[in-house]
């Protein structure tokens, strides 16, 4: 472990490599975290099935790739399929938990997460899968730093998606309605916004975002039916650190988490990846608590 740190100290290129890999993958974490922030902020549903939506999107890409279709083509399709799936989930289950107390949504989505993970395990088996995209690897700095084009493409697509989303939220009628509902659902209702529809749309949009993120993750990384919970925790870490309604914060936290995971994976070993995510979570939670206790003292 210490020797790994020494290695990092000696080699600036390894640092650059890890940082680059981390940032590229972190953008994808930020994407699904943005979806969680949306659902959480607008309808106050803490979706623990977030990561399983991601993995579902990933499997759509894997199925496409297996049939010889490039996974990027799967991107819009996964988004549409997941949008429909989200809508279905909303009208069957989520609709009934919005008005209920805090833990109802948490436990209900936890149940959904189990069903989804186990269902994917039944269909695809527990093997680790990847969607072959056939991209080359770019070599920078005389072969010291390598970037797979797939990661670069995924990063650009994620950025594109995020830009599209922001524009949608700012300009479109629906985006405005979503923001209005997030600010004050009752006032929005009085103003004639069909909040029920807004909720349904928000949840479906979240599923679509996750599906798209999943396609990209399957392209550049690996997926497995039970990886969902780690992705959910990642999203929670990012949203908790950044707060919802804070898009730049979500992006920064996402990139930061990605980089942190890469570095800790290098220093501690890959088997600590999940533990790292959780460690970061606990760190963020403690930090939040310190912040809040400061806030309390100010109030007193």
């Amino acid at each position: 472990m210490l020797s790994n740190i020494d290695l990092l100290m000696d080699s600036p290129f390894t640092n650059a490599q890890l940082l680059l890999d981390g940032l590229l993958i972190g953008a994808l974490f930020a994407l699904s975290a943005y979806g969680l922030a949306l659902v959480w902020g607008v309808m106050n549903v803490k979706n623990l099935a977030q990561g399983d939506f991601v993995i579902m999107g990933g499997y759509i890409a894997v199925v496409f790739a297996q049939n010889g279709i490039h996974p990027i083509i799967a991107l819009p399709i996964a988004a549409i399929v997941m949008f429909g799936f989200g809508w279905l989930l909303y009208i069957t289950i989520i609709k009934r938990v919005i008005e209920r107390d805090l833990f109802t949504s948490l436990l209900a989505t936890f149940g959904i997460a189990i069903v989804l993970a186990q269902g994917m395990n039944l269909i695809f088996g527990p093997d680790v899968r990847v969607a072959e995209s056939g991209f080359e690897t770019l070599v920078l700095f005389d072969g010291n730093v390598t970037v797979s084009e797939a990661k670069l493409a995924a990063f650009l697509l994620a950025a594109l998606l995020a830009t599209g989303l922001i524009t949608f939220m700012k300009k479109s009628r629906m985006g405005q309605a979503i923001r209005a509902t997030a600010q004050d659902a009752r006032a929005a209702k009085v103003m004639g916004i069909d909040t029920e529809k807004v909720y349904a749309f928000t949840f479906s949009l979240n599923a679509a975002i996750c599906g798209a993120a999943g396609v990209l993750i399957a392209m550049v990384w690996v997926i497995q039916p039970f990886f969902g919970i780690t992705h959910s925790i990642r999203s929670f870490v990012i949203v908790t650190a950044a707060g919802f309604g804070n898009l730049p914060g979500v992006i920064m936290a996402g990139l930061g988490l990605g980089a942190m995971e890469q570095f800790s994976g290098f220093v501690l070993g890959a088997e600590f990846q999940q533990a790292t995510v959780v460690g970061v979570l606990i760190g963020v939670l403690i930090w939040r608590q310190v912040q809040q206790s400061k806030h309390r003292q100010v109030v007193e």
């Binding site: 938990v97 833990f103 600590f272 999940q274 403690i286």
Partner: protein, 349 residues
Amino acid sequence: MMNKYTLYGITLAVGIFGPLMFPAYITQFTVLWLMVVFSLTWDIMGGQMGYNSLGNILFFGIGMYVCAIVQVGLYYNVGEYTAYSGAVKVNFTPDQYFTGLALGTVAAAIVSSLIAVIFGWIVFGLRGPYFAIGTLGVAIAAGELIGAWDYVGGGGGMSLPLFPGDSDGTAFNYVAMFTLAIATFLFLKWLYASRFSLAINAIRDDEEKAEGMGIQTKRYKTVAWSISAFFLGISGAIFGNMTGFIEPLEVAFPTVTFGIFMVLMALLGGKGTLWGPIIGAVLFHVIKEFTWTVLLGWQWIALGALIVVNVVFFQQGLVGWMQERWPEKFGIEVDTQLGVNENPSETVT
């Protein structure tokens, strides 16, 4: 309606005569009582205090490992024991075995409670979803960290001392687990009739107000959690000795099996009641044992679906539903449920 003595009678009869009549199923009965302990301890937090922990399994695993380390460590070097599993000739005399077991169980209970206090400091400033996700994270991480700790055998696990003598210890473990379940029940029955339960119920109903009324909420929350941890630690110690071999992911920190079962059982029976978790545990265990193998891989999906249906459509649980349906049969209990206790002098079961 059944009065409580009938329920006591049934419980005791099942506990004593069940394994005598069906000795082949004695392990099943042990697990049944384990489930009862699980759901009772989960309910202290989830039901009575309104803090839904998804990671209570942490204390089960910690108890298991602490007990194992004490049992082996009293007489051998644990690191060598796990490194050359089977190669080091270990032979525990009955004296050594029972001393180790007793000390191990005590240590398991104490360490679990202490860890609950430490983690309580971290997670109890967290409310709502942060609490649930934080505890879930801690439990997942614990399994991984233990898996990387070579001293206790890492992911390969370690085996526990064999039960001395000719018997394989199933009867002994059964009695231990049954006693633990009874002790947990009696302790909680006493606890729920005390001021303590009023305080934690107040936290559930409105934490800010409870704090405003001068209840030291954080202290109550930490104590409640360490009570959970205390009994869970002991149950882990017993279960570890029952299986004879412990390993971090499947046996000690099974977040997706036992960890979820405890939530589901308490919800099924009716959280926030004394008998609800017990009824839920018995019901769940019986259904699970009969259907698990028939469902062929679909059981996990059924489990998740059951949680969803339970939470969304049937949140009050079985006992809660019975209380709504036949309030008069429960007498005073319905009043406490509604929060208007007209006759507070009567004790509540």
